[in-house]
């Protein structure tokens, strides 16, 4: 069962290996998007965007840093209100990830 290859335009991360995986449909900032099974939320977003979140103090974009759950710079909100560390959470079908602050971020 396979992959129509997802379209990756202006992403940060570049896929090099293990490209033949089932596609996972999710939603990114209100738009339909595709990831591959086994992607973390961070990978799913950052392979097609260069922003994961906005820092609440500087107002500047962030796209993760340590990728191992230490820096805490990859917390993203889902549309259902859940917040998670994107680098340690697998992407799930139907997840609606928000990378821009919809409302005041209370950290």
């Amino acid at each position: 069962m396979n992959a129509r290859a997802p379209k990756f335009t202006s992403g940060q991360l570049l896929r090099l290996k293990a490209l033949e995986r089932p596609v996972v449909d999710f939603v990114l900032d209100g738009q339909p998007a595709q990831a591959l099974a086994g992607d973390t939320v961070l990978t799913a977003v950052a392979t097609q965007a260069r922003q994961l979140r906005v820092n609440e103090f500087s107002g500047q974009p962030r796209a993760g840093f340590c990728l191992m759950g230490a820096c805490q710079d990859c917390w993203v909100a889902l549309a259902d209100g859940r917040r998670l560390r994107a680098c340690q959470t697998p992407i799930e079908a139907g997840m609606h990830v928000l990378t821009r602050p919809a409302e005041e971020d209370r950290g």
Partner: protein, 472 residues
């Protein structure tokens, strides 16, 4: 044994030993305990054992060991095989974060189910590993800048390069290992920028003989990169990451003093590693300052006992010695636990492990000579450099606060200007903040202290719920 609801306890006598961390140290500790009839609880934040250096990709991203781990493939496979052989004989809790440590209870979060629980303990081996040590430079918070360890995780665990044109910068053996892994995987490495002077490696050569195989591997990596024509520079000063919304260029000064710019879309940075000591801190372990590592580490005796009875410390989480040392210290910690329980002793083996660790320690000194910490980093950090990326606190603010208040201790500085007060609890900024404070006040680094850990050691989701039921 299931996770208990918070605050429930069991009688002490039948408590199995608990191991926190399933990297090389935790795995060898578990293996040793199981070999002597114990059934340890192994709690690991990751879904699969291996830690960071031998991190296993999720199912479905599996690739050959040679491809994933390169020169470390043999060791990685051995560690994975050792852990796999323990299935059914340990109580393994993956995807589980220990967020607090009390004298008789560990508080845990099972991330996928967002469930909180508590685990009583009597003997504990803490093997919590390390992260990159970060020395910030202007623009380091831009999207596209990652740690060297992060660059490695992206490739190993997710099959991705951090960008389509990557600059790797900083110093340490990891710089060259990541470059090698990236080029082999087909990534474009635009440059490898080492802040250490070219001669440093030659000065270190005699000391490297403490571990000739490791040193030879390093030389092989560098030679291979040369052969592939990867631009490599020494004696570099990193000036600035530039870009409107994300990385576009890296500005740097070469060893001749000329300013250069390298176009890129990602930068991997790191200057060696720093230990994850939060649990040891919460457990009340005594710490001491390591001049070599330029940080405070929990005290351990030669047999890996901490200052707290029943708490043993293994692997990089107790001080950076590398993956091979982690395997040895993991096993050694388990032997100490067995001895203290009166279950087994093997003086010959433990002496052998201690000798191995001593040899590795000598080698670490040589590594520091080859890849020295840039001593002038703090003094030359510009005032507008963001040091604390969580709270957006600049070097200028740190210096101004120190000057105005006379603060000479890191926790005080944190209370006054918020450095280290953010979600990462100073993991990313603690080393840099300490260097700047010591430099600003003209005191030795040891004297400014260390950021004290606080529970939860990582943020917990607000909707986490307490586990119901459990054994009565």
């Amino acid at each position: 044994m299931t996770l208990f609801p918070a605050r429930q306890r069991r009688p002490e006598a039948d408590l199995p030993p608990v191991i926190v961390g399933a990297g090389p140290a935790g795995v060898r500790a578990a293996e040793t305990l199981v070999a002597h009839g114990l059934a340890p609880v192994v709690i690991d934040e990751a879904p699969r054992a291996g830690g960071q250096i031998y991190r296993r990709p999720p199912e479905g991203l599996a690739r050959g060991a040679q491809e994933l781990y390169g020169t470390e493939a043999g060791r990685a496979q051995a560690v994975h095989a050792a852990f796999d052989a323990l299935q059914g004989r340990i109580d393994h809790h993956p995807d589980t974060l220990v967020w607090n440590a009390q004298p008789d209870l560990l508080d845990v979060l099972h991330a996928p189910s967002r469930t909180l629980g508590s685990l009583p303990w009597r003997d504990l081996i803490v093997a919590t590993g390390a992260t990159d040590r970060v020395l910030p430079f202007p623009g380091w918070t831009l999207p596209g800048v990652y740690t060297l360890g992060g660059a490695q995780v992206a490739l190993k665990a997710q099959g991705c390069a951090i960008g389509d044109a990557v600059v790797l910068a900083g110093t340490g053996p990891l710089l060259y290992l990541v470059a090698y892994q990236y080029v082999r995987a087909g990534a474009r490495v635009a440059a490898v920028l080492d802040t250490s002077p070219a001669l440093a490696r030659w000065k270190a050569a005699p000391g490297m003989l403490a571990q000739p195989a490791v040193a030879a591997k390093g030389l092989h990596l560098v030679a291979w990169l040369h052969w592939r024509g990867i631009p490599m520079h020494h004696g570099v000063r990193l000036l600035r990451v530039e870009g409107a919304q994300a990385v576009e260029r890296l500005a740097w000064r070469d060893s001749g003093g000329h300013e250069r710019r390298t176009a890129c879309t990602a930068v991997g940075i790191g200057h060696a590693l720093r230990p994850e000591t939060q649990l040891a801190d919460l457990l009340g372990c005594e710490f001491g300052f390591s001049a070599l590592q330029r940080c405070h580490v929990p005290r351990v005796d030669a047999a890996r006992r901490s200052s707290v009875a029943g708490v043993y410390l293994a692997g990089d989480g107790a001080g950076i010695l590398g993956a091979d040392a982690a395997e040895a210290s993991g096993e050694l910690a388990a032997w100490s636990l067995l001895e203290d329980r009166g279950l087994a002793a093997n003086p010959q083996r433990t002496a052998q492990l201690r000798r191995r660790l001593a040899r590795i320690e000598r080698f670490r000194h040589a590594l520091e000579t080859a890849f020295p910490f840039p001593q002038d980093w703090a003094a030359q950090a510009p005032a507008d450099l963001v040091v604390c990326r969580c709270e957006d606190v600049t070097a200028g603010t740190l210096r101004e606060t120190a000057a105005r208040t006379g603060a000479r201790e890191l926790n005080r500085l944190k209370a006054l200007c918020r450095v280290g007060m953010g979600r990462c609890q100073g993991r990313m900024c603690g080393a840099a903040a300490a260097e700047i404070l010591a430099d600003a006040q003209g005191v030795p680094l040891a004297q400014v202290g260390r950021l004290r850990a606080q529970a939860p050691i990582k943020p917990l989701p607000l909707d986490a719920r307490v586990a119901q039921g459990g054994d009565e």
